[in-house]
């Protein structure tokens, strides 16, 4: 029973991935770029947070709150799964295993950790060459650099995700984790299984209306899940995913 469930899920995932890459190809071949077509696909669980149902190319997304890193990875997962490259600037501590579980294709990922005065230069090079650039908190981007980048991004269609960049100027969509609660860990027993979060999105222009989504971020397998649809299953099902950490290792 459990097997067929996971197989169906795997098939679903494959189908989803194929659809996403088809969208990307269709996107690339479209002769006329309508605003809605100039989007990058996002993970199915996050579509409700974006007015176009996808990441608008050329936009700056900020992620804040407890779980900002997981949220940044979840946003990057959609484009990455459909063939885009993801570059991470100024965040050398990012958990690679978490990135993979979130759905980021590690074979299309670059990590750069430039010294303070080189950040502008690195971002200018990356924007246009890779579709998604995650900017960590360690990378200080000057507002002047950001303005210069803005024009280039709109022209080239790259997206910047800033971790902890909510108060900065030039942000088009701000995502913030407003509620969060871990599940699975008790007092002296259990293991971290998933985190329920409520994410709010707000911003300029089309995204001015506040949107919200309840998610599992990360879900039990590390990937974001929409709450409400599979809630009951994720609580109980598939308990033993990894090996038991409680076993003594020698």
């Amino acid at each position: 029973m459990f097997d067929t469930g996971s197989m169906a899920a795997a098939e679903q995932a494959v189908l989803e991935e194929k659809r996403a890459s088809l969208r990307l190809v269709a996107d690339r071949m479209a002769p006329l770029a309508l605003a809605r077509e100039r989007t990058l696909p996002v993970h199915a669980a996050l579509t409700g947070l974006f007015p176009e149902g996808g990441l608008q190319r050329g936009s700056v997304v900020s992620v804040d709150g407890v779980g900002a890193t997981a949220l940044a990875l979840a946003v990057a997962a959609g484009p990455s799964a459909s063939g885009s490259w993801v570059a991470v600037v100024g965040d050398p501590d990012l958990g690679l295993a978490a990135a993979r579980e979130a759905g980021v294709a590690l074979e299309r990922m670059l990590m750069v950790d430039p010294s303070g005065d080189r950040v502008g230069l690195v971002l200018a090079a990356l924007v246009g060459a890779v579709d998604v650039v995650i900017v960590g908190q360690r990378a200080r981007v000057r507002p002047a650099d950001m303005r210069r980048l803005g024009a280039r991004m709109r022209e080239r269609g790259s997206v910047i995700i800033r971790i902890g960049g909510g108060e900065q100027a030039g942000v088009d969509i701000g995502l913030r984790v407003v509620e969060h609660e871990w599940a699975g860990l008790g007092v002296g027993h259990g293991v971290l299984r998933a985190r329920r979060v409520l994410v709010q999105a707000g911003g300029r222009g089309a995204s001015a209306r506040t949107r919200a989504a309840a998610l599992l971020l990360p879900g039990p397998a590390g990937e974001p899940l929409q709450l409400g649809t599979e809630d009951g299953k994720t609580e109980e099902g598939e308990h033993e995913r990894g090996s038991d950490p409680r076993r003594l290792v020698s």
Binding site: V25, T69, W182, H189, P245, S250
Partner: protein, 517 residues
């Protein structure tokens, strides 16, 4: 039309020799986590090319694993090439460790294949000074000669016209085209002879251009049919260096721009370069020339690498072979060109335009910030969050059409924490304190029991109440090695600031090893 009679000289295990290691010790040279060369001693233990670093280490515990250094391989090979200079001026380097030259002139002058082979052995033997042995193969065409060198001990001469017969019994895998040979084997064509027996037109129809070239090789012909195109206009590029440079760091910069210039020019003509002559002129009028060949077509980066290696080899050679003055001019002459096969950009995967752009920007940033500035994830395997995947410099892997090896995904790592994995894994973890209800530090006994239940977490100056926790999960790793031995106990702790952390107790000190942010 028969192939050009060629001599190939091959120094086995060159990557190991170049690093200055004796061959009777177990040594393996790795590149991008794969073994690319191993010393004979290591091979006795079953260390073979293509193995992962960890597998190689598990087959031979005292194996010395070294990172590949291509520049050094090329530099140390230069004296070997220089020793052949008075046999023929046109020695071409296939790769460091293997060189070839056409036999037509030398064969006549020195009186036959065997005498040239003896001469090569004598000259190169002096240059190698016993570091490794030398194999010499002579046959029609570089492909057959290369295989003859591999079959040689120490010399193998395949008589003129005998190359097809020499190649016929060999397995098709020597073509080194896995996709093609895989199909051939499944079709029942296991030897080069049976593949060569197919009509050329049918091979072209079924396998395309690459198949046709492989078919020509298998039949003992030259890889490329004679080119009917007009002799090229001069495609060479050169650069003056002023003031004359006598150190590699002062000429290295020109390698890249020359290579880019040449590549762009050839690109416009729709051709690619398979053999390139690198020529340098010194202030005293000496001219140095060396040929480099590449199995595929040379990309701009590959040309730049070879130019840098070659200049390094000349400038850092022994006192007798070093040029007497600084280098004033460097030129690149495309010596053999083929029509560019025009890389088809993949539709669903493989080489795509996005990969190409990402690879270009990675190369650019490496040029600006240093070779190690751009990192990419690579599998390593392990039980801790910071061990399962690691970062390697982007220059050590091929970014186009890259796929991460997943083969140790199923390997059991007892004690590994189940997913979700932590989203922050600091390279140097910070310290913390975990206190029980009486504000005493929580410790773990030798039997893996905690002294009390954690209630307070102190990170820096902040005190957090602990809302949920589990542990201890002890790990006792590498107890057989006193230097690497680590005993740790891990706890998952959720504090009232909402963060879940992985806390580790080691030698009486608590560390924040990872955070689920």
């Amino acid at each position: 039309m028969s192939a050009v009679r060629t001599l190939v000289a091959w120094c086995p295990d060159w990557p190991v020799v170049a690093l200055g290691r004796p061959l009777d010790e177990p040594v393996a040279v790795v590149h991008a986590n794969r073994v690319i060369a191993a010393s004979p001693k290591a091979r006795q233990f079953g260390v073979a090319r293509g193995l992962r670093r960890r597998v190689a280490q598990s087959r031979c515990a005292e194996l010395d694993v070294l990172e590949r250094d291509e520049a050094r391989e090329a530099r140390t090979f230069e004296p070997v090439l220089a020793s052949l200079d008075d046999i023929t001026p046109r020695v071409e380097v296939t790769r460091p460790g293997t060189c070839a030259f056409a036999m037509r002139g030398p064969g006549r002058y020195f009186g036959g294949d065997t005498s040239v082979a003896d001469l090569v052995h004598e000259r190169v033997g002096d240059a190698l000074a016993g570091r490794t042995d030398l194999r010499v193969g002579i046959a029609d065409g570089p492909f057959a000669a290369g295989l003859a060198a591999r079959a040689a001990y120490p010399t193998r001469v395949v008589d003129a016209g005998e190359s097809p017969a020499f190649l016929a019994p060999m397995a098709v895998t020597v073509l080194d085209q896995p996709e093609l040979t895989d199909v051939l084997v499944r079709l029942g064509l296991r030897s080069l002879g049976s593949f060569a027996a197919l009509p050329a037109t049918d091979v072209l129809a079924r396998f395309g251009d690459e198949g046709r070239l492989a078919h020509r090789l298998a039949a003992g012909l030259d890889e490329r049919p004679p080119d009917a195109r007009l002799p090229p206009v001069d495609w060479s590029v050169d650069m003056e260096i002023d003031p004359p440079a006598d150190r590699i760091d002062r000429v290295a910069f020109c390698a890249r721009s020359l290579a880019d210039g040449l590549h762009e020019r050839l690109d416009r003509e729709g051709i690619a370069c398979v053999r390139i002559a690198i020529e340098a002129e010194t202030e005293h009028g000496e001219t140095l020339l060396r040929l480099w060949r590449h199995e595929g077509a040379l990309s701009a980066a590959a040309i730049a690498d070879r130019v840098r290696w070659q200049l390094d080899g000349w400038l850092n050679g022994s006192a007798t072979s070093r040029p007497s003055g600084g280098i004033v001019r460097v030129s690149l002459i495309p010596d053999e060109v083929v029509p560019a096969r025009g890389r088809q950009l993949g539709f669903w995967g493989g080489e795509t335009e996005v990969d190409e752009r990402a690879a270009r920007v990675a190369a650019r940033l490496q040029g600006q910030l240093g070779a190690d500035a751009v990192l990419v994830p690579e599998h390593r395997g392990g039980r801790h969050a910071d061990e399962q995947l690691t970062l390697v410099p982007a220059s050590t892997v091929e970014l186009r059409g890259r796929s991460l090896r997943e083969d140790d995904e199923e390997a059991p790592w007892p004690g590994r924490l189940p997913s979700p994995s932590p989203s922050r894994v600091p390279a140097d973890p910070g310290t913390a304190e975990v206190l029980d209800a009486n504000d005493r530090m929580v410790t773990v006994t030798g039997r893996g029991l905690s002294s009390g239940s954690p209630t307070t977490l102190v990170v820096g100056r902040n005190r957090h109440a602990i809302t949920a926790w589990a542990g201890p999960w002890p790990v006792d790793e590498r107890w057989w090695d006193p230097d690497e031995h680590r005993r740790r106990a891990r706890f998952q702790i959720v504090a009232d600031d909402g963060h879940a952390r992985l806390l580790t107790l080691e030698r009486g000190q608590w560390w924040v090893t990872a955070v689920w942010d």
